[in-house]
Structures are given as structure tokens and as C-alpha cells.
């Protein structure tokens, strides 16, 4: 009898504790790991290698945030999420941040009560078809069956594109990128459509990449970026400025090779000094220490280094910088000043 009462009390106490929300930063520090939601497998962006170690362009952002917050780029618990489960996982607090090629849209930002903390890849929706079909333009796809990942903006753009151009198609809804590629490879659909970056990544994994063509049309704007929950502005700021630090570092010429020396010696450029914590106390304003940006940059290098290593032209994915070049090079990357 007494035991039952104790168990009951424990249960109620446990339930009550679960509903109490603390600041995300404190939670992460207490836990010792960052819970980061990533793609279930998208070569170049987020994929686990043979040893189960996650790597990729989106993964690198999680690691950079972990380095800033926990001083350990490996202290990340990666949680693979499908396009359908990602927002529920974030809203319920299962993950602290979502870095999973997620498009920034009005409803997601406002209605779903999430906060997009920047754009780490400017993307657009494209189409891939087998070369043997002889299709040269997306406008020739009337009547085709199209594989799509459900629960994505892609699905909505696709419906709009075909409706506006007065074409018919047969949607083949699929849960994950991997399954979609399997279906596309088996010929269960004629076309696969998703973000152009993911198409390039997908083509790199095909047995014979040259047998597939990415059509020239880009039918949408897909600004991809990390996402956090509404309501914890400090945590949102940390993720936002970690991304900005990576972008600014490239602009300012800070690389993983020279960051330690620049931080130790200081420079003539006050912005570099502020970023690296030589001047001012920007780290403290974020609730971190002053070396946070040094750790962020030394983890995997600046934005340009990460891009080249994971998805750049030297990799099998072979994406050109394009829109994702610095604004000084004609791209859209434009980090607000560290001032």
C-alpha cells in the first residue's frame, strides 16, 4: 500500500517535471550533448559513414553549434528525421535544432511557431530524368509519373508547376529520399523532383551518373536553413550567429588553418578581433565564452571550406557555389556585421 502511494507520487512528480520548460542552452549544457535533427541520409548534406559517424554540410552546422556551446564538436546526438517527422520532433523538444535541408517559408516560420535562424544553402527545385527518355525541359513532362518526398514544399511546388503549365502528372508519394531514389532507380516513376542540391547529391550515388540528366528548370526558391523553436531567443541567437560566424569567417579570410593564430595574435581588423573574441565580449552576450567563434571555425573551417569539402566541385556531388557564393563574389551570402 505504502509502495503504491510512493510510486504514484513519483509518477506525478515525473510528469510535472516533464512539463516544466527550461532554457534550451541550460538543457544542452546539463545534458552534455546537442540533439540535432538531420536528414535520414542525403549524401554530402547528412549521411552516416560505415562507422556510424555522421558527416555532411548540414551535419557540420550541428557540430559547429556543439563546438560553440559545449566545446566539443562530437557532443552531438544526431536524430535522423523524415520530412514528415521533422517538425513534430522539433516542436515537441525531442531535438534542440533542425539542420535538415528545410525550406524557410512563411507558414513554417509564423504558423508552425518555428524560427529560421538564417540560410545555409540557397536552393531551388529541379527535376532529374533518365537520359534515355530524351527529355530536355521540364515542360515536356506532361503525363509523366513523378516521385516526390511527401510533407515537403517540393510537393506543393510540383502541384503548382504542373497546374500553371496545364500539364498532367502522376504523383508517386514516398516517405524518404532514399526510398524515392530506389523507386526512381527501379523505374517506378519517370522523374524524381526535389531540391537541385539533393538531386546533385542523388546523382552522385547512382551507378552511372551520366545516364541521368538534371533538367535546366528551377521551379522554386528553396532557401534552406537551420530551424529552432519559437520562444527561446537566446538559443535562436546562438544558432543564428554560429551560422553567421561561418559565413563571415570566409568573407574575412579566417580559415581553420589560421584561426588559432589570428585569435592568439590579434589583427588590425577590428571585426576579426570582435568575432574571435580578441576585442569585446560578444561571447558573453550570447551566454557563451569569448572563444566560441574560434571553436566554431576550427571545427571544420569556414563556410567556404565546409562547402568545398562536402558538396563542392571537387566532391562527387560537384555543386558550384552559384547563389551560395559570398556577396562580394556575386552570390547571396551576406552575414550581418559583427559589431
Amino acid at each position: 500500500m505504502n509502495k503504491t502511494v510512493i510510486y504514484g507520487a513519483l509518477t506525478i512528480a515525473g510528469l510535472a517535471a516533464g512539463s516544466a520548460a527550461a532554457a534550451t542552452l541550460d538543457d544542452i549544457k546539463a545534458r552534455g550533448t546537442l540533439n540535432c535533427g538531420v536528414n535520414t541520409g542525403l549524401t554530402g548534406f547528412a549521411a552516416a559513414d560505415a562507422n556510424g559517424v555522421w558527416d555532411g554540410f548540414d551535419v557540420a552546422l550541428c557540430r559547429a553549434v556543439a563546438a560553440a556551446v559545449l566545446n566539443d564538436a562530437t557532443a552531438v546526438e544526431f536524430i535522423p528525421l523524415t520530412s514528415q517527422t521533422r517538425f513534430t520532433a522539433l516542436a515537441s523538444g525531442e531535438i534542440d535544432m533542425l539542420s535538415r535541408n528545410t525550406t524557410w517559408t512563411f507558414t513554417r516560420d509564423v504558423d508552425l511557431a518555428f524560427e529560421f535562424t538564417g540560410i545555409n544553402y540557397y536552393d531551388g527545385q529541379g527535376f532529374i530524368v533518365p537520359r534515355e527518355l530524351g527529355v530536355a525541359s521540364a515542360l515536356e513532362l506532361d503525363g509523366a509519373s513523378v516521385c516526390i518526398e511527401t510533407g515537403t514544399t517540393t510537393e506543393l511546388n510540383l502541384a503548382d508547376f504542373f497546374r500553371v503549365n496545364n500539364m498532367n502528372y502522376e504523383p508517386v508519394p514516398i516517405a524518404t529520399n532514399g526510398e524515392a531514389l530506389e523507386q526512381y532507380g527501379a523505374g517506378a516513376c519517370d522523374v524524381y523532383t526535389t531540391d537541385a542540391s539533393a538531386l546533385a547529391a542523388a546523382r552522385a550515388t547512382f551507378e552511372d551518373p551520366s545516364a541521368h540528366v538534371i533538367l535546366p528548370e528551377i521551379v522554386s526558391k528553396e532557401p534552406l536553413g537551420p530551424v529552432v523553436r519559437h520562444g527561446d531567443n537566446q538559443w535562436g541567437d546562438i544558432v543564428r550567429w554560429t551560422l553567421n560566424a561561418l559565413i563571415a569567417a570566409e568573407e574575412l579570410g579566417i580559415t581553420s588553418a589560421n584561426v588559432a593564430q589570428l585569435a592568439a595574435d590579434g589583427t588590425d581588423n577590428p571585426e576579426i578581433n570582435r568575432l574571435l573574441g580578441v576585442e569585446g565580449d560578444f561571447g558573453a552576450m550570447l551566454g557563451l565564452d569569448n572563444d566560441w567563434a574560434v571553436r566554431v571555425i576550427s571545427t571544420g573551417g569556414n563556410y567556404g571550406e565546409l562547402f568545398e569539402r562536402h558538396i563542392g566541385e571537387s566532391t562527387p556531388i560537384g555543386l558550384a557555389r552559384g547563389l551560395n557564393a559570398q556577396w562580394t563574389d556575386g552570390g547571396l551570402l551576406y552575414a550581418p556585421p559583427f559589431r
Binding site: D160, A175, A188, D190
Partner: protein
């Protein structure tokens, strides 16, 4: 005499609530009810509080917003400009379609397998044993995915038909890895009359069978039910078809463009889901049927044989009517299982209600709570309707106690 056993009036004390057996049960019930109300209140208030903390409200306004996504299999008019509510209905109809077709196929499969498993032929009974054990001991999801993979990997590509490598089966059916195209009926002028003739002949069959059964019960004479039924089914409709000048024509699929022009597409997701659900549930129904038949004492068969009934008639007239009393109640719960299991449809991209309302709509609008509640309500209603019909049928076959 009775006054001695009556409780003393006016002497109620608070401790009686706990120690007096007359009041204790009430006390316990009141306390349990209070705890239940507290638990429900806690869950609800927690939900409201958490929704508020997330900055979300609770409303169903999203159902009127345009859905903006396309659904491949639609039984009613729908396009991407239709509302989320309509998308949910399209999904519900797809769920009902697969549930109804699945229940029919599973029943046919199950009855055949259940009867054959009792066969004296060693090979036949063992084969049915393998079917039953194989299907009911492997998770349904695996069967769905496996059948889908086999269908979409093994069949030819639609382009193979276009390039002439493969010919349409009988010039009208094309099985491909993107789905199976079959001829579509084209209802011309006068087809309503044709349909009426068909419905009338169905009614005639029902009437004739009723008449034959009564006559047999009254006189013992057996009419050739099967042949008359078949004749009634085919002949009037066929005669009407030619008299009305062939109002019903078929639109054959023609290889064109990416796949086919004309005809009706039966998607592989539908085929895989339907086959898997029917085979899986059929295995359970087979066991229910077998159990039902075995529950009828062997004396009944022997008595029927002694009267000179042939084995087929013995099964149909003596054994099955009695076995139905045992079979029907568990059969209803298999129908419910099949209906609910159809929510695995999304694994192969079949757009049932779980995929439209419970998947894409929830994902695009972020209304998890509302969507899931609606989804739960839909499955509950559908299950209760199926159970209701099942119970009606059960009342008609159960032992009449007079």
C-alpha cells in the same frame, strides 16, 4: 422479525464510509471517479498549456484552406486547389475502398484456405498450412513492402510497351512497374437501361434462389440453382446489350508519351496493399473458418452422409450454417483489423486517409492534434459501422432460441 436486520436509522458516522460494506463500494467508486477526472483534467490542461507555450491554438479552420497538393488516386473530383477537408475525404474514400475490397478478398481466400486445410489430401492441406503459417507469422508491413517491391521490380517498364518489346495482354491489359492499365468502360447513350437490366437480373437471381430454397425445404426437390443463376446473370444483360445497340464500349490503353493514353490505371501501391492485406487477413480468417468447422461435431457429417447427402451439400447445408455461429464474431474483428491495418498504406505511397489528412495535411499545416483527433474519430466511426453491420448479420445467423 425483519426489524432486527434493518440498520439503525439516524446513526450515520463518517467512519462508516470506510468500514461499512454498504458504503465502502460507493466510497471507492467516488474516489476512483475523482482520480479519473483529475487525470483527464491534467492531460487536457497540460495540452492547452503546452500549445500556448508553443504559440499554437486549437481550431479546425485549416480544413477549409486550399490543400495545394495532388493526390494520385481520387474517387471524387479533386485538384490541388481543393480544400484540406476535401483531401481528407478523398483519403477516407481510398481507405474505405481498400477496406471493402480487402474484406471481400480476405473472406474468399480465408474460406477457401480454411476448408482446404481440412482436406484429406495431404498436399493440399499442407500447402494451406504453409500459407496460413507463413502469412500470419510475418508482420504485415513486410508483406506490403515485399509485394510492392516484387511488382515494381519484376514487371516491364511502360516504355517497353511503347517500343514494342512487350505486347499488351489480349491487347487490352498492360502490367507495368508503374501500375496496371486496364480498359476503361465508356458509358454511352442507353447504358442506364443496360445497368437497370443488370440490376433487375441480380434481383431475379436473388428471388429465384429464395424460391428454390423454400421449394426444397417444402418438397425436397432440388432445382438447378447454379445454372439458372448463371443464365440469369449473363443472358438478359447480353441480349439487352445488343438490343440497345452496344451502349457500353471499352476505352483501351494505348502506349503513348511516358506511359499510356486511355484506360484506367490501377496503381501498384493499391495492388500491393490490397494483396498483402487480403492474404494476411485471409490467413487469420482461414483459421477461424477451420475452427468453426471443427467445432461442429463429426456426428453431424455422419448423419448427413447417412441421409445420402453428397460431401459438397453436407458442407453447404449442414456444416457451414452451424459453423457460421462460431465463425462470424471473430470474423468481424478480422474485418476491423484489416480496416485499421490499411493505415500502413503510406509505406507504399497509397494515398489513404492516414497519408492525406494524417500525413501531408498535418505536415503542411502543423495541426497535429486536430488532424490526429479527426483521424482517430474517422477510424472509430468506420470500425463501429463495420462492427454494427457484422453484428446485424451475426443476429441473423446465430442460434435462434425459441
Amino acid at each position: 422479525m425483519t426489524t432486527t436486520t434493518e440498520p439503525r436509522s439516524g446513526g450515520f458516522r463518517l467512519s462508516q464510509l470506510l468500514y461499512d460494506t454498504r458504503y465502502r463500494s460507493i466510497t471507492i467508486q467516488v474516489v476512483a471517479l475523482g482520480l479519473l477526472v483529475l487525470a483527464v483534467y491534467w492531460l487536457l490542461s497540460n495540452t492547452v498549456e503546452n500549445l500556448e507555450a508553443l504559440g499554437k491554438d486549437f481550431n479546425f479552420g485549416f480544413l477549409a484552406q486550399p490543400a495545394s497538393y495532388d493526390i494520385n488516386q481520387r474517387l471524387i473530383e479533386y485538384d490541388s486547389r481543393s480544400s484540406h477537408g476535401r483531401a481528407a475525404i478523398v483519403g477516407m474514400l481510398n481507405t474505405i475502398l481498400i477496406a471493402v475490397l480487402g474484406c471481400i478478398a480476405a473472406t474468399i481466400l480465408g474460406v477457401i484456405a480454411g476448408v482446404l486445410r481440412l482436406s484429406k489430401n495431404w498436399i493440399v492441406s499442407r500447402l494451406m498450412g504453409v500459407y496460413v503459417e507463413g502469412f500470419r507469422n510475418i508482420p504485415l508491413l513486410l508483406w506490403i513492402v515485399l509485394i510492392f517491391a516484387v511488382v515494381s521490380e519484376s514487371l516491364p517498364h511502360p516504355r517497353a510497351y511503347g517500343s514494342g518489346e512487350v505486347d499488351l495482354w489480349l491487347g487490352s491489359v498492360a502490367m507495368t512497374r508503374q501500375g496496371t492499365w486496364i480498359p476503361a468502360p465508356v458509358w454511352g447513350a442507353g447504358s442506364t437501361a443496360l445497368l437497370a437490366v443488370f440490376v433487375l437480373s441480380l434481383a431475379a437471381i436473388w428471388g429465384f434462389r429464395r424460391f428454390a430454397r423454400r421449394r426444397q425445404a417444402a418438397t425436397g426437390q432440388i432445382l438447378p440453382v447454379l445454372w439458372v443463376s448463371l443464365g440469369l446473370l449473363v443472358l438478359p444483360t447480353l441480349i439487352a446489350y445488343f438490343l440497345l445497340g452496344r451502349p457500353l464500349t471499352l476505352d483501351y490503353p494505348e502506349p503513348r508519351g511516358f506511359n499510356f493514353d486511355g484506360g484506367v490505371l490501377i496503381r501498384n501501391s493499391f495492388i500491393a496493399l490490397w494483396l498483402a492485406l487480403s492474404l494476411y487477413t485471409g490467413a487469420f480468417i482461414a483459421e477461424i473458418v477451420r475452427g468453426g468447422i471443427l467445432a461442429i461435431s463429426k456426428g453431424q457429417t455422419e448423419a448427413a452422409f447417412a441421409l445420402g447427402l453428397r460431401p459438397g451439400r453436407t458442407m453447404n447445408l449442414v456444416i457451414l450454417p452451424q459453423a457460421m455461429r462460431v465463425i462470424v464474431p471473430p470474423l468481424i474483428s478480422q474485418y476491423l483489423n484489416l480496416t485499421k491495418n490499411s493505415s500502413l498504406a503510406i509505406a507504399v505511397g497509397y494515398m489513404d486517409v492516414r497519408a492525406t489528412l494524417g500525413g501531408i495535411t498535418i505536415n503542411q499545416t502543423g495541426r497535429e492534434l486536430e488532424g490526429m483527433l479527426l483521424l482517430g474519430l474517422f477510424y472509430l466511426t468506420l470500425s463501429l459501422i463495420i462492427a454494427g453491420f457484422g453484428n446485424l448479420y451475426n443476429t441473423s445467423v446465430k442460434l435462434k432460441e425459441r
